[in-house]
């Protein structure tokens, strides 16, 4: 669903940042920059809670920061698909994103919201689901994807094949 203009009554002006728990800031930083294309904008930050916890700010899309925070617990179960964070991408880049994630050892799953439109040549909405090395769930949404020869996969995707272990990421080779 595309964003609509706001109605009066909102109490917040926008997203300040999203915090993401990670086991290792260096490894996670590589994922969010080299794989997802973010830019580190602050590498010596802290997040408050019971302690001051080391954190790294990464700008993921114009004006949108995700903060990687060291935390040794609280991981998502692989079949808990929420919470997750979704970013819009250009439909023309969807296939390259799939190839890119595969090259980095990140399994992904496509979900067509409107398989009939995809089979007819689009445009249609397609979601690309994957997890970061710590199991945080992400989705890339292409609203203007034009169908190709790939068989449509409507409905739900199976989250289990998306699992990989942070201990062996990034892959050798």
């Amino acid at each position: 669903m595309k964003p609509t203009s706001a109605a009066p009554g909102f109490q917040v002006d926008g997203v300040d940042r999203f915090t993401i728990p990670v086991r290792d800031l260096a490894s996670a930083g590589r994922f969010y920059t080299d794989v997802l294309g973010g830019d580190v904008v602050q590498s010596d930050a802290v997040e408050l809670g019971a302690w001051e916890t080391p954190a790294v700010h990464v700008e993921m899309s114009p004006g949108l920061e995700m903060v990687l925070v060291e935390q040794g617990h609280g991981w998502n179960a692989i079949d808990s698909t929420n919470p997750h964070w979704a970013f819009a991408i250009a439909g023309a880049e969807l296939d390259t994103w799939v190839e890119h994630l595969t090259e980095w050892g990140v399994p992904s799953a496509l979900q067509f919201r409107d398989p009939a439109a995809a089979e007819a040549g689009g445009p249609s909405c397609v979601e690309l689901h994957f997890v970061d090395p710590d199991g945080n769930q992400f989705e890339l949404v292409a609203w203007d994807y034009r169908g190709d020869a790939r068989p449509s996969r409507p409905g739900r995707y199976d989250p289990w094949p998306l699992y990989y272990t942070h201990k062996s990421w990034p892959p050798e080779g």
Binding site: F10, Q11, F18, A50, N82, F87, L140, P170
Partner: protein, 194 residues
Amino acid sequence: MASTQRKTAADRDLHLLRLDHFTAPVRDLNVARRFYCEVLGGVVKQEPSWDRHNSGAAVGAHIDIQLFDGNGYIIGYWQPWGQPAPDQMFPHKAFRVADPTRIDDVMARLNAVRVPYLLVTSSEAPDGTAVPVSLYFRDPDGNQLELRCGDYPFRPGIHIGPFDPTLQYYRWADWRALVTDGGAPPGRPRPKAR
């Protein structure tokens, strides 16, 4: 280590264009609606439909809520598991508030509905000095939220530095008692089909 030949997103000229949406696992969609719309001023973009759940084509349903003007909206997903523990701070969702009086407005709303919160800054300052503050609280399902204001007048009573996250805890059941049925399917959650 990874191969030096492996291409980065920049090498491939791949970009994330904008935030599309973000989700929170919630136990009851009517509870989520009451909190995110009545307390935070959100507007429902898409009402839930249980048709696919009831037909077995999907598990669960969701309510889509716009919380601010611009890209991105929150989806409360019916998922009665996977909520954070009371002492877990991350992940959390932080929202920007430019007008400091809006922080006061939200605190008044939270007081009215008995949601505990912590107003926190990093260091002490003379009274009335504009300081960055964070208002921490949780939705009824325990999802951690924060409102961030860069210019809030310092005053006694603002907590300084680290804090006990468990002080934000309150009972989801008290909120469930305030809403009508229909925000969750009856009976136990069914396993996802293969």
